[in-house]
């Protein structure tokens, strides 16, 4: 059940330039799954809207969630100041998450780019522990440079391939270049990252005749499906909106790439 509540900061550290790693103790942890997100509030009363941040990982025993985020503005700059023992207001769990059951018995690849990498870590963890596990699973993550944050964590769950823009680690180029270079065949892709990457993955999936589930990002206000701020265009008329718009915050953020007009 969605709720707005106070979460206690368990720890916070810097993972890479401008990338922060914060564990929060929250009852929301019991109710979260891979690909969902939370709205995080500032105490700065001039910045009113919740910041949508993907859930990187869940630790149910500790009733904790991990948020890995990039500092991009006044809101995230404030979050970066939080220390162990501080409290922070969050809204969640929000969104639908990745449909992991679609990968049961199939060859799955997790693909993330930039600040789209974190939610795939929780996905790796959850898919390894799920009853409907894929027959084969690997991950391809794309970074700007050698600051390959979370790469070690992925290594705990699966084989990780890396692409970097500057070629300092792994394949020089994007995640699809790395997929091709390493000869990874798959039936299902779960992906999160910048729009050009997601478009590339949609095209790749179409070319190969495979499924791609992609997690989208957009400027949001309410986070709960009421304001209609964060829509994406769909091929068919959406059952909620009755126009060709779906709400990223509630109908997504994860969509079957085939259903999107992008």
């Amino acid at each position: 059940m969605k709720q707005k509540s106070m979460a206690k900061v368990i720890s916070q550290e810097v993972l890479a330039d401008g990338i922060y790693d914060m564990w929060l103790e929250t009852p929301i942890a019991m109710d979260v799954h891979a690909g969902q997100f939370v709205g995080v509030y500032t105490v700065n009363r001039a910045a009113l809207l919740p910041r949508p941040i993907s859930i990187c990982e869940v630790d149910r025993e500790a009733s904790a969630i991990r948020l890995v985020y990039r500092v991009v503005g006044v809101g995230t700059a404030e979050f970066a100041l939080y220390r162990q023992g501080d409290y922070i207001s969050i809204l969640g769990p929000l969104g639908n998450g990745f449909p992991l059951e679609t990968a049961a018995g199939k060859r799955a690849v997790l693909m993330g780019g930039g600040i789209g990498v974190p939610p795939l870590l929780g996905t790796a963890k959850e898919i390894r522990n799920s009853k409907s596990a894929p027959s084969q699973i690997s991950a391809v993550m794309g970074y700007r440079n050698s600051e390959t944050f979370l790469a070690d964590d992925f290594g705990r769950y699966l084989q990780l391939y890396i692409a970097s823009d500057d070629g300092s680690v792994g394949t020089k180029g994007n995640v699809i270049d790395a997929l091709r270079e390493n000869g990874i065949d798959c039936d299902v892709i779960f992906a999160c990252g910048p729009m050009p990457m997601l478009k590339g993955i949609k095209d790749y999936a179409k070319e190969k005749g495979i499924k791609a589930y992609i997690s989208l990002e957009e400027r949001m206000a309410c986070g709960v499906g009421a304001c209609l701020g964060c829509i994406c265009k769909t091929k068919e008329t959406d059952s909620h909106s009755h126009v060709k718009n779906a709400r990223i915050c509630t109908d997504g953020p994860v969509f079957d790439a085939d259903d999107l007009d992008m």
């Binding site: 509030y41 009363r45 009113l48 809207l49 499906g225 701020g229 909106s241």
Partner: protein, 300 residues
């Protein structure tokens, strides 16, 4: 302690409503809020046919508020009646349906489709959305156009009619008088104030629509001033809104002359805002020994 108010013969258990477009039809917020505790649900704008709305980005945060240019995306009146109104039948709160259109005929079609719906207590006519190219605000920025459309809607409407006014005018008093003269049963204000934000890093407008409507606490002093002016210009009841974040804000609007108030953008900041306003008003009344909320109206 009496918190009930009456507008155009319709009784509300308390003066706290939701501002159109910030609360859907209540469904999404029913996870957080017991809708029975609210004075009224004012729905998202409903047109005669589904509207696509504007391209994204549709929202942008600004200091103390936000800009939106949703463009009145809505599923159309048929879906609204079958789904949203059906959902609201479960609740014991008043329902005010916000009506939008591109032409007078569009508005009249929605008004007529809703006329047989007993669950609809009042209509709020949106002649003040700044984000659509046709209709809407075109009727709300000239007094004679507002007078005219108010009269046309009143001829057909079975429920009492609230005209929702735009702050993007020279004289709010003149607009309030035009609505009253046209036969409006009440007025509500303010809709959003037209604004703009530029992303200097991308060298682009923050909104795809370039301009959007400013809402949130940043606009509250403007809204309080306009509610004060409008309520002194007309005899019909005024519903006040614009940046209400808590009970103190709501009471300011009531003291400025509002019979009821609506919570808008702050629902996005805190989904429990409406309930906190209801509770806070009762606490204020207890603290100052106010036995009837109506005593506070226009007290300044």
């Amino acid at each position: 302690m009496n918190t009930a108010v009456e507008i155009a013969g319709v009784k509300f258990k308390n003066p706290v409503m939701t501002a159109s477009g910030t609360f859907g039809s209540g469904m999404e917020y029913s996870d957080f809020v017991d809708l029975d505790k609210l004075g009224a649900i004012v729905t998202k704008g409903v047109a005669n046919v589904p509207w696509e709305g504007n391209p994204v980005p549709r929202v942008a945060e600004v200091y103390g508020g936000m800009l939106n240019a949703i463009g009145l995306q809505n599923p159309g009146v048929d879906v609204f009646i079958d789904r949203d109104l059906e959902f609201l039948k479960k609740y014991d709160t008043r329902v005010i349906v916000n009506v939008c259109g591109k032409t007078v005929e569009d508005y009249l079609e929605v008004v007529e489709r809703l006329s047989s719906q007993e669950r609809v207590d009042m209509l709020e006519i949106n002649v003040s959305c700044p984000n659509v190219k046709e209709g809407a605000i075109a009727f709300g920025q000239k007094a004679d156009a507002l007078y005219d459309i108010t009269g046309r809607i009143k001829e057909r409407a079975k429920q009492p009619v609230i005209m929702k006014l735009s702050p993007n005018v020279t004289s709010i008093s003149e607009m309030a008088k035009a609505a009253e003269a046209g036969g409006a049963d009440a007025i509500s204000l303010i809709n959003t104030i037209t604004g703009m934000k530029i992303d200097i890093h991308k060298r682009k407008f923050a909104l795809a629509n370039k301009t959007g409507g400013l809402s949130g606490p940043a606009i509250k002093p403007v809204a309080v001033r306009m509610v004060y002016e409008a309520s002194h210009a007309v005899k019909i009841p005024v519903i006040g809104m614009g940046g209400i974040a808590n009970a103190e804000d709501a009471i300011e609007f009531i003291m400025a002359g509002a019979s009821a108030v609506a919570v808008g953008a702050m629902n996005f900041h805190d989904p429990y805002t409406t309930l906190n306003v209801v509770k806070g008003i009762e606490e204020y009344m207890a603290r100052y020994g106010v036995s009837d909320i109506n005593e506070l109206r226009g007290i300044v």
